[in-house]
């Protein structure tokens, strides 16, 4: 009874002082919750996006998507395997501890050990050495040109805090490991964690001792995931939420018309493409037995020429994207404007004659698989592509599956043609695409595309240390992939953010919400 009485007292006081949203609070709703407060626990965009406001890295992106100093003030390459960073002095963590070289060493080692889920960004780190209190050397196993890009995604944590809570070794969420760091945060960033209620709300408050100039004017941030797109939009319209990411594409006009609300549209670096299964001796969903039509470059070119890209982007994507033949977004290192020259034009008759030349005058059957979520209008786009291929005689059997199922089937090499998307984040460097999707044996190359000339180019890219030459090489590689019709390049992913009119925020191409670039008026 006593407990009930005191609980009632708590309840009444909570009700009385329930946080009323005042003008300086930002209530932000995303479609999914972050999975952990530990920056090294899960290699995901939303975690990186949210935690980028609590933690910081040695270098960060500026508003033009170029790297600028953050926790490191300058850096130089001492030899081909060593990067020396000079650290910013006078920076403190949220708990008051000073930021020094020890913290960088501990964090980078934590992020690069075997068990860390963050290894894809840190596999190249051989060792990290403290030179003095504010200088750190990062040694790589092999010369690594994108070291800075990779480090932009590694958030620095406080060594003493980690040691105090037994979290010096990273906990891999995939194995069910959890640590103190999963629910608590201690960073150097513009906001600090107040309370985390998973799947309900995460509460941040401004860090008054941030080293950088804070112009955002935000006092508190309430992060509340809302899965249903329509509910998220309703919450914004009813005034319960101030910022929603993303808003469904079709609601852009409605949000702009509503009082006090506006919608910001943009394109992020996630690039859509279609990939082929070229290595299978026989296609699973085809009537052609004994050989694989997709192994012939003429067939692939025919499939390319059958697609009316302008129609896809203007009607299916409602003009929110432009067709691009580049396979990567303009903000990604390795993009070249000459890649925008399509390798072939939209020509149904040419496509039909190519098919005949390749030995399929009557066309053939083909399977196309797409997920029903995770891609903006992906399902409708695949339906359109299937119809376009039908016009040249390629009877396409379209299958739409839930994303988890789809990803499994892609990687198990069962599909003839599938929809793929690659963002190249957080490095914003096209080597990610080259290494994982195009290279022989790449994890996301289940179609077995293998071109020795392109593989050789990729090897050169990896070894090249001169940035300009390297970018030229990447453009050459992508051009070769394009000419060989290894995949069909579609367009970059459009996104819409909805927000109150008094919030100015810059939608970054890497899809990250940087609240310190925002301004709450």
């Amino acid at each position: 009874m006593k407990r009930l009485k005191s609980s009632l007292a708590v309840a009444l006081s909570v009700a009385a002082f329930a946080p009323v949203a005042n003008a300086k609070d930002l209530r932000w709703s995303h479609s999914a919750d972050i999975t952990s407060m530990d920056p090294n626990a899960h290699y995901s965009t939303i975690n990186g996006s949210f935690l980028g406001n609590v933690y910081e890295s040695l270098v960060r992106y500026d508003k033009q998507m170029k790297l600028e100093p953050a926790l490191a003030t300058s850096w130089e390459r001492i030899d081909e395997n060593t990067w020396r960073f000079k650290l910013r002095e006078g920076v403190r963590f949220h708990n008051g501890n000073p930021f020094t070289a020890d913290d960088v060493v501990a964090t980078l080692l934590r992020a690069s050990e075997e068990n860390s889920a963050y290894r894809p960004a840190t596999f190249w780190i051989a060792d990290v050495k403290k030179v003095d209190e504010y200088t750190v050397d990062v040694l790589s196993t092999k010369p690594h040109a994108t070291a800075l890009n990779d480090l932009s995604g590694v958030f620095i944590m406080d060594k003493e805090w980690l040691t105090e809570h037994g979290a010096l070794k990273s906990a891999n969420m995939a194995k069910g490991e959890k640590s103190y760091v999963s629910d608590n945060a201690n960073g150097t960033g513009p906001f600090k964690l107040v309370q985390r209620r998973p799947d309900v709300e995460t509460h941040l408050t401004v860090n008054p001792d941030w080293w950088d100039k804070a112009e955002h004017g935000i006092t508190n941030v309430f992060y509340r995931p809302i899965t249903s797109g329509s509910t998220r939009v309703s919450a914004l319209l009813s005034g319960e939420i101030d910022l929603i990411t993303p808003a469904p594409l079709q609601d852009e006009a409605r949000l702009n018309q509503a009082d006090g609300i506006k919608a910001l549209a943009g394109n992020n670096t996630r690039f859509y493409m279609l990939n082929f299964n070229v290595a299978a001796p026989e296609l699973k969903d085809s009537n052609i037995k004994g050989k694989n039509p997709l192994a012939s470059v003429k067939v692939r070119q025919a499939l390319y020429q059958a697609i009316d890209f302008k129609l896809l982007t203007s009607k299916i994507m409602r003009g929110t994207s432009k067709p691009s033949a580049a396979f990567v977004a303009p903000e990604v290192q390795g993009y070249g404007s000459r890649l925008e020259q399509p390798p072939a034009s939209y020509d149904v008759n040419a496509a039909k004659s190519l098919l005949a030349e390749a030995g399929y005058p009557d066309g053939f059957e083909l399977g196309l698989e797409c997920p029903n979520e995770g891609y903006v209008n992906g399902e409708q786009m695949c339906q359109a592509v299937a119809a376009m291929w039908g016009k040249i005689g390629v009877k396409t059997k379209l299958t739409i599956t839930p994303y988890s199922n789809y990803a499994k089937r892609v990687l198990s090499k069962e599909l003839d043609v599938f929809l793929n998307a690659w963002a190249n984040t957080p490095q914003l460097d096209a080597f990610s695409l080259l290494n994982n999707v195009i290279r022989t044996g790449g994890t996301w190359n289940p179609g077995g595309y293998s071109n020795s000339k392109i593989d050789a180019l990729i090897g050169q890219v990896q070894a090249e240390q001169n940035m300009e030459r390297r970018i030229d090489l990447i453009v050459d590689t992508l051009a070769a992939y394009q000419q060989d019709f290894g995949g069909i390049s579609l367009f970059t992913e459009p996104f819409v953010w909805g927000m109150k009119k008094n919030l100015d925020i810059i939608p970054a191409a890497d899809g990250r919400v940087r609240l310190y670039w925002a301004k709450l008026n």
């Binding site: 290699y43 069910g176 959890k178 009813s238 994303y403 789809y406 994890t443």
Partner: protein, 330 residues
């Protein structure tokens, strides 16, 4: 009564095992959770290693046997999505769902029964006509449409009620309740209506149909002849007899309300078990899905047992030995 209970418990165990086995076999088709757990750039060898460590590459029967063994000692495993023990996750979300279901059921009963009785007594009339039309709408509209319409009207246009979430909740020990705060109560209104609308209209029509039938029986005629007042006839005699089918239906409905409040919880972002379940499906979070289904089958079995026991409370003429009777006492 004891042999009756024991027999039912034994049947319950068999039902739950079968549900678990079927659920397990289905999980092969929900996709590979490994892809959702690791980043895109992670290599194949690492994925395979992880798959083996989590036991996901063992044959289905092996996975199932180890699952049953673990459940027997109360170890429900750890969620793939948030690395939290599954039992902890489910217990944390249970109060939200149970509170919602309780409010929806009470609403359904409080509105459904009186209106059902009224439309049974006054077979033709304006109010009865309105009740019939509304109940038809409630039965035909899918719950997400109802939910979204309510949000549009009450949150967006009028701004009276919140459009998502549970509001401020108070923790009483292990239980968290929204009934003690104003924002919690306001948040309960729209989801309860959405969830309870189908039940409400179902009860309305059911009670009306039963009342119509009961009012034609002989003993009602004789009570009228004896001069008993309308109030006594309608509410003391007739209503009691209409309740048995209502109790049966409500029993079944409560089970499915708890299990499948998924749509309502998704629309209103209600942090209950339904939302957890749909998130687990999208992620391929097998431990959560498996335990959830076993828990639900336990709940259905328990509720139906209670329903059967309630029959005896309502109708003293029924006999223990004709167990699982159900239906009308005449």
């Amino acid at each position: 009564m004891l042999p009756f209970l024991l027999k039912r418990l034994f049947q319950a165990l068999i039902v739950m095992l079968v549900v678990a086995l079927v659920a397990f076999s289905l999980f092969r088709y929900v996709g590979d959770p490994i892809n959702n757990m690791v980043g895109e750039e992670v290599g194949n060898e690492y994925r395979q290693q992880l798959r083996e460590e989590l036991g996901l590459s063992d044959p289905i029967l092996v996975q199932f046997t180890s699952f049953v063994q673990r459940i027997a000692v109360g170890d429900f495993g750890v969620s793939f999505r948030n690395a939290v023990p599954v039992s902890e996750l489910l217990m944390e979300r249970l109060p939200a769902t149970l509170e919602l279901v309780m409010c929806a059921t009470i609403l359904a009963l409080l509105i459904g029964i009186p209106f059902g009785v009224y439309s049974g007594i006054h077979r033709r009339g304006l109010l009865t006509g309105i009740v019939q039309v509304v109940s038809l709408a409630g039965l035909s509209l899918p719950s997400f449409v109802v939910g979204i319409l309510l949000i549009l009207l009450f949150s967006v246009q009028l701004g009276w009620l919140p459009s998502y979430g549970r509001g401020e909740v108070v923790k009483l020990g292990d239980w968290s309740t929204g009934l003690l705060t104003l924002s919690g109560l306001k948040s309960l209104i729209l989801p309860s209506i959405t969830l309870g609308l189908f039940q409400m209209t179902l009860i309305m029509r059911l009670v009306r149909a039963e009342m119509l039938e009961v009012l034609r029986t002989d003993y009602i005629k004789f009570s009228r002849a004896r001069g008993l007042s309308d109030k006594v006839i309608h509410f003391k005699l007739a209503l009691k007899n209409t309740l048995i089918p209502v109790v049966t239906i409500m029993g079944l409905q409560i089970g499915s309300l708890i299990a499948f409040a998924i749509v309502t919880e998704t629309v209103f972002q209600w942090p209950g078990m339904g939302l957890l379940f749909i998130q687990a499906i999208n992620f391929g979070d097998v431990p959560v899905m498996a335990c959830y289904l076993v828990l639900i089958s336990l709940m259905f079995v328990a509720i139906n047992l209670i329903v059967d026991l309630l029959y005896y409370a309502i109708d003293p003429r029924l006999d223990w030995n004709s167990a699982a009777a159900g239906g009308h006492a005449k």
